[in-house]
């Protein structure tokens, strides 16, 4: 059900609208039957067990006596006998055979109420269909076995009618319906709003028919008999026919709708009194038909503007006698008041997009759930890291994660017998080593530093400012450890690069990533591919290095510092392996875990980095 359908199929949202002004969209006559489609319609097309409406569609030059309406995929075709002429674009007034509609509408609602009565006592019965008047059939058919007794069902039905339970129709999504209702037919469309009917105190049920507003309107409905047919049970019921019964009339629907009762409009105003009446009728009909606020504003101007119809009426005042003037004047004023009120009300309705008849809206309601996806925290971290380093001239690259031993080990000055190179700490690929002896075996790279010599090879000549972000793999002895994680590697090589430059870049990153007052601290460490090598600490972003948060000891750091990872001045052998002369150039590098670096952000509340590797959607959806 698209929202356009909600706009064009008026009977779905207002089942008591008997009259409607609209335009003809198409007219096709074939032998004696003419088929008309309309901009919008109040005619209910046959379906859901309810027979189609009948009535008239009248235009300036002719009219159609509607005898049958076909749904036609949401664009109902009104069929019947044409008198005079109707053509595309004609403004017409539709009018229902209200007596017929109201009867079938009551029949339909009564059917639902009967079902609730049955369902209350025999929940195991599965409803398979309902007939509400087509071909004189009126029953609910169930699959299953139970001993139903008319005499026991009827008292409850009468009680529910007496209760005056409210009957609401509204639109929901399938998911919303599933939340509210136990029985959800399996053949419903999944991605469209669904129209449902809900009787006060019962679950909503998908329904596309017209419904009364209160069970009181169903006075006179009775369950007639229970019939068993093979494996099915048919519960037959009846509603008194004839003119809408007087009891029902008196207890007109609780929410008073904007519509009043109309008689046939007159084309010419014979008297001035009738002129007022005519303006009132046309204006109120037109106001309720407006589709948007600008249309409404146009109407306001044409009625209430300086040269509007109301003022035109007032201009006639001088032609009346004194007494008449008083009466006429006050009538016009009444008219004006009612128009102002109607326009204001319609305006609010349009703002509320047909969700509510009321001017008041509840702004404390959390609203409808908006379904959006989630980017992973790691993705957000990578974007942020990239932005920070690109600003100072770094180029982001990605190098292989399955690489020859040469790049992550040998070229990085790691001796053949270095523990990190044996099968206890690094994953090897089950393939023979490269024919090129230098390259060695294929491994899953344990760090992004394999990008160092690759970047030197790519660039050929400094200056180099590289940011390599990729996955890394460590063969941890403990299987609960994460085997892969993401690292970002910075590499700067140029003339005269010093420890001070390393400090400068790291401090810059700390300030950008964690905020002001976060700086770095270098401590001695050891890596084969850097000399000197450092362990890098950042001022704890949580306590900003004060070791205290609101008077209490900071829970996240040791003495105001947080360990981030390693860094160092590129080892001269690594430069040589990358074809760069270590006597001419120097450089620095750092490689840190993306997850770990991000987890240090204050307030993020990740105490176990493995949370970032979880595939549990309840965690992922928090990102």
């Amino acid at each position: 059900m698209s929202s356009t359908m909600k706009k064009t199929l008026i009977y779905l949202i207002d089942s008591k609208k008997k009259r409607l002004q609209t335009k003809i969209v198409s007219v096709v006559s074939k032998s004696k039957v003419t088929s008309v489609t309309l901009g919008k319609t109040i005619f209910y097309p046959q379906g859901g067990g309810q027979p189609s409406d009948q009535g008239t569609i009248r235009g300036e030059n002719g009219g159609l006596k509607v005898t049958n309406v076909v749904y036609n995929d949401g664009d109902p075709i009104h069929q019947g006998k044409l008198k005079g002429k109707l053509k595309e674009g004609d403004a017409v007034i539709c009018e229902l055979d209200w007596e017929r509609r109201y009867y079938y509408m009551r029949l339909h609602s009564a059917g639902h109420l009967v079902h609730e009565v049955v369902h209350e006592t025999f929940p195991e019965l599965k409803p398979v269909r309902g007939e509400h008047g087509i071909g004189g059939k009126q029953y609910i058919e169930y699959l299953g076995n139970a001993s139903l007794e008319v005499s026991r069902l009827n008292p409850r039905l009468q009680q529910l009618i007496e209760d005056g339970r409210q009957i609401k129709t509204y639109f929901v999504t399938l998911d919303q319906l599933k939340e509210k209702a136990q029985f959800v037919p399996t053949n419903l469309p999944k991605n469209k709003p669904l129209r449902v009917v809900e009787i006060e105190g019962f679950e909503p049920i998908p329904d596309g028919g017209t419904q009364v507003d209160s069970t009181k309107e169903l006075a006179g409905a009775v369950i007639a008999k229970v019939e068993t047919k093979k494996e099915n049970i048919l519960v037959h019921y009846q509603v008194e026919r004839g003119s809408p019964d007087k009891k029902a009339r008196r207890i007109k629907p609780a929410p008073v709708r904007h519509e009043t009762t109309f008689s046939t409009p007159e084309v010419t105003a014979i008297t001035d009194k009738e002129a007022i009446r005519s303006v009132a009728i046309s204006a109120i009909a037109l106001i309720s038909d407006t589709k948007d606020l600008s249309e409404l504003e146009d109407l306001r101007i044409s009625y209430l503007g300086r040269k509007g119809k109301v003022n035109c009426l007032l201009k006639k005042l001088p032609t009346f006698t004194k007494d008449e003037r008083l009466e006429f004047g006050s009538q016009v004023n009444e008219l004006k008041k009612s128009l102002v009120a109607a326009i204001e009300k319609r305006g609010l309705q349009l703002l509320g997009k047909d969700d509510s008849d009321q001017a008041w809206v509840d702004l404390t309601d959390p609203g409808k759930k908006t379904n959006v996806g989630h980017l992973h925290l790691v993705t957000r971290a990578i974007e942020e890291i990239t932005r920070i380093f690109e600003k100072i001239g770094f180029t982001r690259v990605r190098y292989p994660t399955v690489d020859w031993d040469w790049y992550p080990f040998e070229a990085l000055n790691m001796a053949k017998d270095h523990p990190a190179r044996d099968e206890w700490e690094t994953f090897f690929i089950d393939k023979p080593p490269s024919a090129d002896k230098k390259k060695g075996h294929m491994v899953l790279t344990p760090h992004t530093s394999n990008g160092q010599v690759r970047e030197m090879e790519r660039m050929g000549e400094p200056p180099i400012r590289m940011l390599n972000i990729a996955s890394c793999f460590r063969r941890q002895q403990d299987v609960t450890h994460i085997q892969s994680f993401l690292q970002f590697e910075g590499l700067v090589i140029d003339r005269n690069i010093s420890i001070s430059h390393l400090k400068g870049v790291i401090d810059y990153f700390a300030g950008e990533f964690y905020g002001d007052k976060v700086v770095s601290r270098l401590r001695p460490f050891n890596f084969e591919f850097t000399e000197p090598s450092f362990e890098v600490d950042f001022t704890c972003p949580n306590c900003r290095g004060t070791t205290k948060v609101s008077g209490k000891k900071c829970r996240f750091c040791k003495g105001g510092w947080h360990e981030v990872g390693g860094a160092g001045m590129v080892h001269p052998r690594v430069l040589t392996n990358g074809g760069i002369d270590p006597d001419e150039y120097s450089g620095f590098a750092f490689g840190w875990g993306v997850e770990r670096t991000y987890a240090m952000k204050p307030g993020i509340n990740i105490n176990d980095i493995r949370m970032l590797h979880s595939t549990d959607i309840r965690i992922l959806k928090q990102f």
């Binding site: 980017l375 180029t395 292989p400 690929i429 089950d430 400012r465 270098l522 590797h613 595939t615």
Partner: protein
């Protein structure tokens, strides 16, 4: 590697006015990191992390030595006392590579330095209380005076030591050799091991293995309450063999961790002498005057040259030549200085680690104080040569998936054999030689292999929509690295039409024309799978997961997926969309309901419609019902207003042509 050092043990070697707290602070900034400083009773105990290259610091003496250099540079009074390196050989002892009391056959490849001495007349009892207290604080369990002495020596000086019961060594013979696979030994802790082979072992005269060298001694020759005579045993071993043995047997003893890092061979005799002294004091033993020391290839310590120019580049011109000289001297280097450079010879305990000028720069810089270097951004030229790997397009794809309601995940690319078999068979995957378990034996060749695992784990929260943009690994023939291809995969519990619509939107956003060609695809259900093709390029696959894959991943709800080659998308995507002016005339929108045959594909019909009538600017299926499909068509003419009559004519033309091409009929 961490070492526990009680403050009062440290001050046996370091005489200083600095408090434990001060020492911890200075060490952390300029030397090994003090992870924690804890008060245990009346004693401060430091837990210090020593990096693997600085095995010379893995002892109380080593820490005292470094702390002294650091404190001295900060002008804090500090002296090294009780340094065993400074002690001379006791006069009564004779060093020889042969002794009367022990016959040895040593493979010098496996044991570069082998030393031992016989100590007679010991009585096994408790060590002095102070020794037991300090050992306990340092993480060792006091056992008896002999075992405690060996632990004390190792902790204090960083040289592992073993004590044999001399009388339990059969025929007083030792053969140090490489083990054979399957040989058995029971170690001190009563564990019996079947050796992997190539381990360093000692066999006695009774052909029994009595020592798993570098890892742990044998129980058959261990000291016991009846022990009277002991063999004090101090060696160096080939470091790699020790490491392999200890890893393969999961016996990561402290001794093995030290031996595998090649400690200073010059410490061997000083420690042996200290051992004679301690065992004499604690157990009343008397050492034989003959000391065995087999040391064939004495290590040499070459001089290192550091140009001041280079030092100044690295250290931002902040350290003077004289400061550099004094720092190195304090660390034990022999230093000569000229106008251009420093010539420095390292002490034996640093020889392993100090080989290049940059090694000296590191020593100078850390002692001088990293915290005092300025913080500067590099000022040089900015590199221009960007390889344009399309990261922004990857991010764009991710954002699109997010806007479709999908949640991103990152997953380990390692999968099991069963999962690998689902896509082209496990042979089409890279296999790890040393996986951590069967679950992680292969590298994925499709993102679906890991994404579906995640979908399965989240079924309780269905319907879910998940995506991943990550690399897959496609092995190549011959000896080359695999293709690592960034892929984008989506999996959803929702309908295929929803997924098709998302694919369509994604391709539109990327500016790529494509079509789905139904065909069989691995892991996807028959008649519900296809390839996504643009021109001659296959971009990916789409379909519903087949029952076999559902069983493998434990899926009970139907899942629809697509997987796209992000690299190809990057190549085909258009950075700039060409714009067109909106038409001046209003469109006429019409529905067309066709009766279609069995398995008629609507894609080609839609394409045909636009080629049949140039006036159709938009056509999409609106509704499927039984054997019909309702198409919504938008007609427009760029230069004039279309009339209903024209449109009707076009519709007739379209219907007729479609009947001819596809056998469809108009529903009336």
């Amino acid at each position: 590697m961490n070492i526990l050092i009680p403050y009062s043990w440290l001050t046996k070697y370091l005489k200083t006015t600095a408090s434990a707290k001060k020492i911890a602070e200075y060490l952390s900034l300029s030397g090994p990191s003090v992870d924690t400083l804890t008060k245990m009773g009346n004693e401060w105990v430091m837990d210090i992390e020593v990096t693997t290259n600085r095995i010379d610091m893995f002892s109380v003496l080593g820490i005292a030595r470094d702390a002294r250099s650091i404190l001295k540079h900060r002008k804090i009074d500090a002296q090294l006392i009780g340094d065993i390196y400074q002690k001379t050989k006791p006069a009564n002892l004779k060093i020889s590579n042969r002794v009367d009391y022990l016959k040895t056959r040593i493979d010098p490849e496996l044991c570069p330095r082998f030393s031992a001495v016989l100590i007679e007349g010991v009585s096994v009892k408790q060590s002095p209380p102070e020794i037991r207290r300090l050992l306990t604080l340092a993480g060792h369990r006091p056992i008896n005076n002999l075992v405690d002495a060996s632990n004390w020596l190792m902790h204090a000086y960083g040289q592992p030591v073993h004590v044999f019961d001399y009388d339990l060594i059969e025929k007083h013979q030792m053969t140090l050799r490489s083990s054979k696979k399957g040989e058995k030994i029971t170690t001190l802790d009563k564990k019996t091991f079947e050796l992997p082979g190539n381990d360093i072992v000692i066999e006695d005269g009774g052909r029994r293995l009595i020592d798993l060298c570098g890892v742990m001694g044998g129980s058959n020759s261990a000291v016991n309450p009846e022990t009277k005579n002991v063999l004090l045993f101090v060696q160096n071993y080939e470091e790699n063999r020790v490491r392999q043995t200890s890893l393969k047997l999961s016996q990561r003893t402290i001794a093995s961790q030290i031996f595998e890092k090649d400690p200073d061979p010059e410490a061997v005799l000083p420690v042996l002498f200290k051992g004679i002294e301690l065992i004499g004091k604690w157990a009343g033993g008397k050492a034989n005057h003959q000391v065995l020391d087999i040391y064939q290839n004495k290590a040499s310590y070459p001089q290192i040259k550091l140009e001041f120019n280079k030092m100044n580049t690295y250290l931002n011109n902040q350290v003077s030549d004289q400061e550099a000289k004094s720092i190195l001297s304090n660390l034990g280097f022999k230093v000569e200085i000229s106008k251009e450079n420093i010539l420095a010879t390292p002490p034996s305990w640093l020889a392993n680690n100090m080989k290049l000028d940059v090694d000296l720069i590191e020593e100078i810089a850390r002692i001088w104080g990293y915290q005092y270097f300025e913080s500067l951004l590099p000022t040089g030229e900015i590199p221009q040569n960007n390889p344009r790997q399309g990261f922004e397009i990857e991010f764009g794809l991710k954002q699109l998936m997010k806007s479709f309601g999908y949640t991103e995940l990152y997953s380990d690319p390692l999968i099991s054999k069963i999962e690998a078999n689902l896509v082209g068979g496990c042979k089409q995957h890279l296999r790890l030689k040393n996986p951590l378990g069967e679950e992680w034996e292969y590298l994925r060749s499709s993102l679906l292999q890991t994404l579906l695992k995640a979908v399965s784990g989240n079924e309780a929260d269905a319907p879910v929509d998940l995506f991943d943009l990550s690399p897959v690994f496609i092995p190549k023939l011959k000896e080359s690295l695999p293709d690592e291809i960034m892929m984008l995969a989506a999996a959803t519990h929702r309908s295929h039409r929803k997924l098709l619509g998302q694919l369509n939107r994604l391709m539109n956003e990327m500016g790529i024309e494509y079509e789905v060609q139904p065909t069989d695809v691995d892991m996807l259900a028959n008649e519900r799978s296809g390839v996504i093709v643009s021109g001659k390029t296959t971009l990916g696959i789409i379909g519903q997961i087949d029952p076999r894959a559902m069983a493998v991943f434990g899926l009970s709800r139907p899942v629809w997926v697509f997987e796209l080659n992000a690299e190809k998308i990057k190549k085909l995507s258009k950075e700039i969309m060409s714009l067109s002016r909106p038409g001046k005339y209003s469109s006429i929108v019409e529905d067309l309901t066709l009766i279609v045959g069995d398995k008629v594909t609507v894609g080609p019909i839609l394409k045909q419609i636009q080629s049949i009538s140039g006036l159709v600017v938009n056509v999409l299926p609106k509704k499927y019902w039984e054997n019909t499909v309702t198409l919504g068509m938008e007609f427009n003419h760029p230069s004039r207003q279309l009339t209903q009559a024209e449109v009707n004519k076009e519709k007739t033309k379209i219907t007729a042509k479609l009947t001819k091409l596809f056998g469809t009929r108009l529903k009336v």
